[in-house]
Amino acid sequence: MPQVFSPAMNAVARSSIIAAVFLAGAATIAFGALYRSSFVTQVNNPRPQTVPFSHRQHVAGLGIDCRYCHTSVEDAPFAGIPPTETCMTCHSQVWTDAPILEPVRRSWDTGKPLEWVRVHDLPEFVYFDHSIHVAKGVGCVTCHGRVDQMPLTWKANTLRMSWCLECHRAPEKFIRPRDQVFSMEWQPDEPQETLGARLLEEYDIKVGQLTNCSVCHR
């Protein structure tokens, strides 16, 4: 029976073992980088929308409160995407012939809702509730970033479970007084640990429960 492999193949076999380890490592690193990249997480990646709505213009420029449009954020799981009526409250008078607002006017005339692309799309086995976060002192900025500086809306955080758990394990590092929840610029005027520890007590936040599976998954 003739030899299948020539002696020269020994070197190939040895080097391929090393190469395999190296390749596996490189693949792991590459996969990790891809997994964390904004290509996958969509963080800092503005989503194109039918109407190029600018939070910067409306929040920083005009001083409109988050709750003017996101009316149910304090009472419901869903913060609320405003109906066309909310846009038209001002835009029936202001910027009435702006071409970029044409879809808004068409929606108002036809009664067909505007279609927005969801920027924060959680998996459907997560039951996130805005109202409880707002009630316990989680600021809009904490999860959504400086929305008042976004000309188009993007995700400021991954919204991955590991990210959620950073706060669910140690909310005292992130919470703020209730009356500052909607502030875009609030900074603690005492050490966050002191403030956080006091607010945990005051708002009756039971940290141990926050990592129970059923808090977010049903």
Binding site: I64, Y68, T71, F78, T86, T89, V94, D179
Partner: protein, 217 residues
């Protein structure tokens, strides 16, 4: 022929490996728990003709709190259709503060934080509303304010879908407080606290007092 066998087994192993990777990849892309056959709020729908999962209210539907007889709490008017001259809630500090919060969210854009009608949207081209301190407006009964928020007035859209009835009354109460504050005189301030006022005596001290309130809000 003998040479052929190892090659075949090698390609078999390769194919097995590829298959394994494919199975893993497919398992990784198994998204039916991510996207479940259910509607999230305001989701798109292929089932309903208008493409929206949220259904419009059936014509003639009323919120369940509202009785079929006219309830001033939800209409602002009495049986004769006259605006009621009272606020059908207990007005205390918490109620007024809720009113201020809601006023600053929904009204201040146009009416301004002090109700003068010089809000930011007015500065950007919205028709200027009459000042809430205008004698005619001030003379209107409480129910009138509730009615305007509920049904709109002139170019102002109705805010019934955005502001709950209770909050509309809270805003009404806060507008009354604003009206008082903008018309306040030094005599209204307890004598022992008049030192805290800045400005000239008997000028409306209200803008100072109210400015301070806003800062704390």
């Amino acid at each position: 022929m003998m040479l052929h066998n190892p090659r075949r087994s090698a390609s078999k192993i390769l194919r097995g490996l590829a298959g394994g990777v494919a199975v893993l990849a497919l398992a990784g892309c198994h998204l039916d728990m991510w996207n479940q056959p259910k509607y999230k709020t305001l989701a798109k729908s292929e089932f309903f003709a208008d493409g929206a999962a949220a259904r419009p209210l059936v014509e003639g539907v009323v919120p369940f709190q509202v009785t079929t007889e006219r309830n001033p709490r939800y209409s602002g008017v009495d049986e004769e259709g006259a605006f009621i001259p009272r606020i059908p809630y207990h007005v205390n500090r918490a109620f007024l503060e809720r009113g201020r919060e809601q006023f600053d969210i929904f009204c201040a854009q146009c009416h301004g934080r002090t109700g003068q009608g010089n809000g930011m949207i007015v500065q950007r081209g919205m028709k200027q509303p009459v000042s809430l301190h205008d004698p005619r407006v001030k003379g209107m009964p409480h129910g009138y304010y509730f009615d305007v928020i509920t049904n709109g007035f002139g170019v102002m859209y109705n805010h019934a879908a955005r502001i709950s009835p209770r909050d509309r009354w809270a805003i009404t109460a806060y507008i009354r407080a604003l009206q008082l504050s903008q018309d306040a005189r030094v005599d209204d301030v307890p004598e022992d606290r008049r030192d805290e006022l800045s400005g000239t005596p008997n000028a409306p001290a209200a803008s100072d007092a109210n400015g301070g309130q806003d800062d704390h809000g």
